[in-house]
């Protein structure tokens, strides 16, 4: 009955949002022989993975500054190198700075990291290789989960049980000690986890930072250990990734778009979807803000779950039970973004004197948040609706490896500032944005005293900007908390983690689905597989 009513002019697939997952889904569905149409509300494709001109002549990754990294299969299967994607390999993964002039460099190579740790703590230097190897092993055991469609725990079928059995066998292969660690680490407070391995505060804090990045959590919050395991599943490391592309994050999106187009997808910008059209519980297209109606056999949303379910759908389409669960989906943003255009490279006290060696050390991610208490205090403020007096900063200077982003000799700096809670206890972000920017600069000046005088342009994006400009409901960078209760078979909701929705022919493919989080493309890839499975049957 429904099929007979499908508009003859209907598109195969309409994808809401040209974020990287939307583009990945478009490319795979095009590869399968469909003709997807991607609709992007902004004039710029990429969603969270964009390179914006923040000041005339200065281009900067406006939101995310590293991929998660992007899954290697996606780069291969979509031939992204041919479409212009070039990865940059920083020598340092994370450089942690302490206000007393200490610095600590974490490399992908554990032995090299351990050597650097020697002056800080001989004990930590000895422990680091086993720490790195342990997370590499745990990550490898968990990795198959990432590309898997989570089981429907509520009504597990034979296939789901088989998947879980396979996973169980793989985990048993870890050996008793690692299996225990796996079970213990996920629900642990990351501060405890780091303290079990290491004694120096700077290293503990650097490790712990990955557990709280973009989350409404401090290092003492239970369950923050899971983020380290998730990162390890992606690339074998427990620390923040430094996966940069030439041309900034936007270059990843451009390569994905080029690949999708070459495979037959169409991408329209400036096309804001205002509503998903649903009839009799079946999605049959979208309505644009302009009033234009586009019929489609399948609608895929790369928007976050709250935006999709609570804003793009008429509430009457969903059961009140589902809606209230969705309203309880946690996505309160805590990250602000500060992008700076700098006349030259700032001098960091910890690396003085500056030189090519200093520049190499700075080329990965830079962590500011020198001890566990500092990070917890930063979170404390957010709990009570205030921005941190001394924020935890995660930054990078993309121009060190990619000088083309700024005029010769000049640089851009991309800073995630945490915590800046979406909902302020007093005042609103419009009135407090400048103060936030000043606070971030003040904190930075502790580590790079000459930085304030080098600024030629600055952009401050609060969680409210993340919501309004980038369409992230609640201003949450990761499309919702990536916590134990909202991961895997629980992302976004238990029973609805298979990229399908309560509305037939409506799918989700964004970071609010498994494995979610950063710029990996896996949500889009997994979603496209499920969509194709349904269309074929």
């Amino acid at each position: 009955m429904t099929a007979a009513r499908v508009d003859a002019r209907a598109r195969d697939v309409v994808i809401i949002g040209a974020g990287h997952n939307g583009l990945v889904a478009a490319a795979y569905l095009a590869q399968a022989g469909l003709k997807p149409l991607v609709l992007e509300r902004r004039d710029l494709i990429g969603g969270r993975a964009v390179t914006d001109e923040i000041h005339p002549g200065f281009r900067c990754p406006a939101l995310c500054h590293s991929a998660g990294p992007l899954d290697g299969r996606i780069a291969r299967e979509l031939d992204l190198a041919r479409h212009g994607l070039e990865w940059l390999a920083p020598e340092v993964r994370v450089l942690a700075l302490a206000p007393d002039g200490h610095a600590l460099a974490l490399h992908d190579d554990a032995a090299r990291t351990a050597a650097g740790l020697q002056p800080l703590s001989a004990r930590d230097a000895a422990a680091y290789p086993e720490f790195a190897a342990c997370f590499a092993r745990l990550g490898a055991a968990l990795r198959p989960l990432l590309a898997m469609t989570p089981p429907t725990a509520a009504r597990a079928g034979a296939r789901d049980l088989w998947k879980l059995l396979t996973l169980g066998r793989r985990l048993r292969g870890l050996g008793k000690k690692d299996l225990f660690r796996l079970l213990r680490f996920a629900p642990m407070a990351v501060a405890d986890l780091a303290a079990e391995w290491f004694e120096s505060e700077l290293l503990r804090a650097t490790i712990a930072a990955r557990g709280i990045f973009a989350s409404f959590a401090g290092p003492w919050s239970a369950g923050t250990g899971v983020a380290l395991l998730l990162q390890a599943a992606h690339d074998g490391h427990a620390t923040a990734p430094a996966a940069f592309a030439r041309g900034g994050m936007g270059a990843i999106s451009q390569a994905l778009a080029a690949s999708a187009r070459a495979l037959g997808a169409e991408i329209r910008t400036g096309a804001a979807v205002s509503r998903i059209a649903v009839r009799d519980g079946v999605a049959h297209g979208v309505v644009l803000a302009s009033g234009e109606e586009i019929a489609a056999r399948v609608v895929v949303s790369d928007a976050d779950p709250r935006s999709t379910y609570l804003h793009l759908l008429d509430g009457a389409c969903l059961s009140p039970d589902f809606t209230s669960k969705m309203r309880n989906y946690r996505s309160v943003g805590t990250v602000a973004k500060v992008n700076l255009a700098l006349s030259r490279l700032p001098r960091f006290s910890a690396l003085a004197p500056a030189g090519p060696e200093g520049a190499r050390l700075l080329s990965g991610r830079i962590h500011i948040g020198p001890d566990i208490d500092y990070l917890e205090r930063a979170f404390d403020a957010a709990k009570y609706g205030e921005p941190s007096a001394e924020p935890y900063l995660d930054l990078c200077i993309p121009t060190l490896l990619d000088p083309g982003l700024a005029p010769a000799g000049a640089h851009v700096m991309s800073i995630h500032a945490q915590f800046a809670p979406y909902a302020l206890r007093s005042g609103d972000w419009a009135a407090r944005t400048d103060a936030l920017g000043r606070q971030v600069l003040k904190t930075l000046a502790t580590y790079a005293p000459d930085l304030p005088e080098l600024i030629v342009g600055a952009q401050v994006l609060t969680p409210v900007d993340l919501e309004q400009r980038y369409g992230l409901a609640g201003g949450h960078l990761l499309h919702g908390e990536a916590a134990l209760d909202q991961l895997f078979a629980f992302r976004p909701l238990i029973g609805w983690a298979q990229y399908r929705s309560p509305i037939a022919r409506l799918y989700l493919c964004g970071a609010g689905t498994h494995p979610g989080g950063g710029v990996t493309g896996l949500s889009g890839r997994n979603a496209s597989r499920e969509i194709w499975k349904d269309l074929r049957s």
């Binding site: 009839r279 009140p320 809606t323």
Partner: protein, 399 residues
């Protein structure tokens, strides 16, 4: 412990029987006199004044009020004019009835909604994304039912309102004793009658005006026992007796669809979206398993049982809310949920829930009758409800 309604001061003084019950936390008169028979007769032959304040009452307003109400109820609001009142069920997402009540369209986007049970949370849960104001006005609005053949003439005497033009299931505003009231031509008796919606703090003056003028129309205050007989005659269902809210159900058999309650005509499946629509569409295709019907119990068969026992036939004047088994042949076909002697019809009647194959009018069934603690079966015939449906109920202008 219950509390009094806005009319408690008056009803307490009149309640000779001191026979009260708890209705949603309020003291409610069961019968004013030791027996409810005069009160019943007032409903059918004169006029009765019934305090129905304990109903849950909500006021829905705001730009999306119509969308909001339409999203929840099973009926189609686009067919309801301003000034119209509808009786409607509303369902959960599995198409099972949560509650029933009346919705009065007081303005383009203004509704007064009555319900048997608290619904505020359910309303809130259905409000996301809508610009709607939901107010519980249960303690701000008192309500009286004025029911019976002389009710229109009495009301015309005391109310400043266009009552001649007020059709069945319509609402108008007016004044009684100078107090602004809403008057709807609705009720729970199946007779000519009105419900009067009064500001809580001025309720007594309205009661007094009606009682004073009512003397000339043989007005009696009436309690729940009389109302219960009348509502069964009218074939009107009572929650927790003839059906249960799906919210309280423990097993599936305790969940009821509109079709099972004979309310299928109130389900507007052509409405694009409302809670439960998908499930109700499926049920329409699949067919419902049970049906609510009327039963007329064969009186000679009752007499035969009593004769066998050696007793004169007797039947309680009070309606029974005890469910009793209903059989066809040797097997159980369902259950009678409300049973009463109808003084007007001179018949023993019941509302029953039976498997669908036993639901067509004329089907001969048997109902359990217990005499001296021994179970017997008496013959009963499936009939259409209402059992009693006088033309005066809907006649406009009223007599």
């Amino acid at each position: 412990m219950p509390i009094g309604t806005a009319f408690h001061e008056r009803t307490l003084a009149l309640c000779q029987s001191l026979s009260y019950r708890d209705w949603s936390g309020y003291y409610t008169v069961s019968s004013y006199e030791p027996s409810h028979e005069h009160e019943y007769n007032a409903i059918r032959s004169a006029a009765a004044l019934i305090d129905v304040t304990p109903l849950f009452k909500y006021l829905i307003s705001g730009p999306d009020a119509t969308r909001f109400v339409d999203r929840i109820i099973t009926r189609d609001l686009s067919k309801v004019a301003v000034g119209q009142v509808i009786y409607t069920p509303w369902c959960d997402e599995w198409g099972k009835i949560i509650d029933d009540g009346t919705v009065s369209r007081l303005g383009e986007n203004l509704y007064r909604w009555t319900a048997a049970e608290p619904n505020l949370r359910w309303f809130w849960r259905n409000a996301p994304g809508l610009d709607v104001k939901i107010e519980e006005v249960s303690e701000r609005v008192a309500a009286l039912a004025l029911q019976g053949p002389t009710s229109a003439r009495l009301l015309k005497r005391v109310a400043e309102a266009d009552l001649d033009g007020l059709r069945y299931f319509r609402v108008t505003s007016g004044k009684i004793a100078g107090i602004p009231v809403d008057i709807s031509r609705t009720g729970y008796t199946g007779d000519l009658g009105y419900e009067i919606w009064v500001p809580w703090d001025r309720a007594l003056a309205v009661w007094d005006a009606l009682m004073v003028a009512g003397a000339a129309f043989d007005l009696h205050p009436a309690g729940m026992l009389a109302l219960d007989v009348a509502r069964i005659e009218a074939g009107l269902l009572l929650i927790d007796v003839d059906f249960a809210s799906s919210r309280k159900a423990v097993i599936d058999a305790q969940r009821y669809s509109p079709w099972e309650l004979g309310l299928g005509r109130l389900v507007a499946l052509d409405k694009p979206a409302f809670v439960g629509r998908q499930a109700l569409l499926a049920e329409r295709t699949r067919g419902h398993a049970r049906e609510t019907v009327g039963l007329e119990i064969d009186w000679p068969s009752v007499e035969a049982v009593y004769e066998k026992v050696g007793l004169p036939p007797a039947v309680s004047p009070i309606a029974s809310r005890v469910a009793v088994p209903v059989y066809r042949g040797g097997a159980q076909a369902g259950r009678a949920t409300s049973t009463t002697w109808s003084p007007t019809l001179k018949k023993l009647i019941a509302i029953a829930l039976v498997a669908r194959e036993h639901a067509s009018p004329g089907t001969r069934l048997e109902m359990e009758l217990t005499v001296e603690a021994v179970r017997y079966r008496v013959h009963a015939t499936v009939t259409k409800t209402p059992f009693f449906n006088p033309p005066r109920k809907t006649k406009t202008p009223p007599d």
